[in-house]
């Protein structure tokens, strides 16, 4: 009887692993989940898998710079590609990342400044002030209104992430001119944030921010433009008076077993056809020079590139140098 038990278990284990053995390589890609990742699946992952039957793409979410670092540190790297934000993938992050192999990836196709030693841009994004139109009689305009609880009551959805633009937003609302933002006055920003702290509901993932606005739990939020647009049916509108620009970057963790396949995939993901397809599903701009002319008309008026005059540029270099200290202070402030 014991023998049968063991053989049953063994057979079960074989069946489970057999599926994975069929494809030669499995690339694990981590992204931010929700509609963003679904769009990537449709525009990037599925076409890539169709073009390369020997490679399977497995998806994970949410992306986390810390989790990637922990994987590299413990030597158990099981992501091959990750989508990240501006704060990560700089030259100072060399210990965590594989350099982009520009013999496989064509560096010349990128918009200047979006292809670095360790990262290449996937799309140009924006963090915008989105609001539930049903909640207010007049539309909020700019960051000052975001901090105005009297005129615009209700909860604010904000990303619980120091380099999310929240410090810049607070300082601009407090009257700091856009060209004098850096170096950031962290304490002044936190003092300004204290005025709405009880009305902030923090989100960790893009899908959460969408949920908060759609369900009415938050009346306003600083969210990624893709999330705001997909809430349009529920009456979510975007105020483009002020917005911070962000970039989505592809990075490859150091020590991945599939470095070459990962580079091949990145080259494929950033080709014009794929990037143009992506703009059908998400209101983000492409990073490929040739793709810019062909972006889909679906989101006209809500593309970050339609509002370049109001953009607040974040200083990635300042954040690379000061990010860790600011984050420590931010974590403490959250608990105060």
């Amino acid at each position: 009887m014991q023998k049968t038990l063991w053989s049953t278990l063994l057979v079960g284990a074989c069946v489970l692993t057999a599926g994975a053995a069929l494809a030669e390589t499995t690339l694990t890609v981590s992204s931010y989940g929700g509609g963003y990742q679904e769009a990537q699946d449709k525009a990037y992952f599925a076409p890539f898998a169709a073009a390369h039957p020997e490679i399977t793409i497995r998806q994970d979410s949410p992306s986390s710079n810390a989790k990637l670092k922990a994987m590299v540190e413990s030597g158990a790297v099981d992501w091959d590609i990750m989508v990240t934000d501006d704060s990560f993938g700089l030259d100072s992050d060399a210990e965590w990342l594989e350099p982009i192999d520009y013999t496989i990836v064509n560096r010349d196709k990128f918009i200047p400044g979006t292809a670095g030693t360790y990262r290449i841009a996937s799309d140009i994004e924006a963090t915008v002030l989105a609001y539930n139109a049903a909640e207010f009689s007049t539309a909020p305009q700019g960051y000052k209104d975001f901090f105005d609880l009297e005129k615009f009551p209700g909860m604010r959805a904000v990303w619980k992430y120091a380099p999310s633009g929240i410090f810049e937003t607070a300082l601009l609302a407090d009257g700091v001119p856009a060209d004098k933002l850096y170096p950031l006055d962290v304490e002044r920003a936190l003092k300004k944030l204290d005025t709405i702290k009880d009305h902030i509901v923090w989100w960790d993932t893009g899908a959460q921010s969408e949920q908060l606005l759609d369900s009415g739990e938050a009346s306003m939020g600083l969210v990624w433009v893709g999330r705001a647009v997909s809430g349009a049916e529920q009456g979510i509108k975007i105020d483009w008076t002020q917005w911070t620009s962000q970039t989505g970057f592809w990075v490859v963790p150091k020590g991945t077993k599939n470095r070459e396949a990962a580079m091949k995939a990145l080259e494929f993901f950033t080709e014009p056809a794929q990037q143009i397809a992506f703009t059908q599903y998400m209101p983000y701009g492409p990073s490929n020079k040739t793709a810019v002319a062909g972006v889909s008309e679906t989101f006209k008026g809500n593309l970050p590139t339609d509002h370049l005059d109001n953009r607040v540029l974040m200083d990635a270099d300042w954040w690379a140098k000061n990010g860790a200290d600011v984050d420590m202070r931010f974590q403490e402030w959250l608990l105060e």
Partner: protein, 288 residues
């Protein structure tokens, strides 16, 4: 079968007087030493990098850590009190119910016991969100005009934790209560004592060991909660377990995370020691 296996991880006195069949215990003990004691010991080692106590110094000097520890204690105490107060009548009902009522109460108690804590926290999110069932009912009854904010608040955390811990409090209470002879209560009422007086003077002292066991079990388990406060609380309701997880998966400060884990282990052990003391004191009083 030899009994003098050198692998027995106990002191020599035990090895000398090894009881029959000890070899049966060896696999389980070895397994736990390797996969349970060793990892915990490594944690202590990691919390003292190069023998330095700087991580502990940091914990006990930075207000942010002390605040989280104090908060963990406070929430655990509140949860313990609520759980025991709700569990007491429930266990009393079980101990004095007929067959069918007992069956129903037992099933109602054991179903949540076997459904994962993660799923139950998920359900609470669905129930407590602004468009959730609780707010719908309250709005429908006209009791409130705007939805109450229930998730990402301390109320959410406490509800979720009490829900998880209730069976742990009811079971020890029930096992004590079902042995209490209800004729003593009847006797006290025949003697003219009011119900409340009889309850307080006769029933409660006999149920006290159960109350104590329920209280300590819920309190120590509450100290280590992670999933429920992470999903139902706000950043300000952070408990020590979340901070440990954060140090390991977000801040990547393993030494500090390990030190916090050791502090949590210590607090749990301390709570259990207090329980032991309480039991001894109770037994003494009963003997006197």
């Amino acid at each position: 079968m030899t009994l003098s296996s050198p692998a027995i991880p106990r002191g020599p006195t035990l090895v000398e007087r090894l009881p029959r069949g000890s070899v049966l215990l060896v696999p389980a003990l070895l397994f736990l030493l390797l996969f349970y004691v060793y990892p915990l010991a490594q944690l202590i080692g990691a919390s003292l990098p190069g023998g330095s106590g700087k991580n502990y110094a940091l914990i006990f000097s930075r207000p942010v850590f002390l605040r989280v520890i104090a908060e963990t204690f406070r929430v655990s105490l509140v949860v313990m009190a609520v759980t025991v107060l709700v569990a007491f009548p429930y266990a009393y009902a079980m101990a004095n119910a007929g067959r069918r009522a007992l069956l129903f109460l037992t099933i109602a108690l054991l179903i949540p016991f076997w459904v994962s804590l993660l799923l139950r926290s998920f359900s609470w999110i669905v129930l407590l969100q602004n468009t959730g069932l609780v707010n719908q009912v309250l709005l429908g009854l006209g009791l409130i005009e705007t939805p109450l904010k229930l998730i990402r608040t301390e109320i959410g955390v406490i509800l979720g934790m009490v829900h998880v811990l209730l069976p742990y409090a009811v079971l020890p209470l029930y096992s004590v209560m079902k042995k209490i002879d209800m004729r003593l209560m009847e006797a006290s009422s025949i003697c003219g004592a009011s119900w409340f007086h009889g309850f307080r003077r006769v029933y409660l002292p006999m149920a006290l060991p159960g109350v104590l066991a329920a209280a300590i079990l819920t309190f120590t388990l509450a100290l280590g909660f992670y999933i429920t406060p992470a999903l139902l609380g706000s950043p300000r309701d952070m408990m020590i377990a979340q901070m440990i997880a954060g140090q390991f998966s977000e801040q990547l400060n393993f030494g500090l995370g390990a030190a916090l884990a050791v502090v949590l282990m210590g607090l749990t052990a301390l709570a259990f020691a207090l329980f032991g003391l309480g039991r001894v004191l109770l037994a003494r009083r009963a003997a006197a």
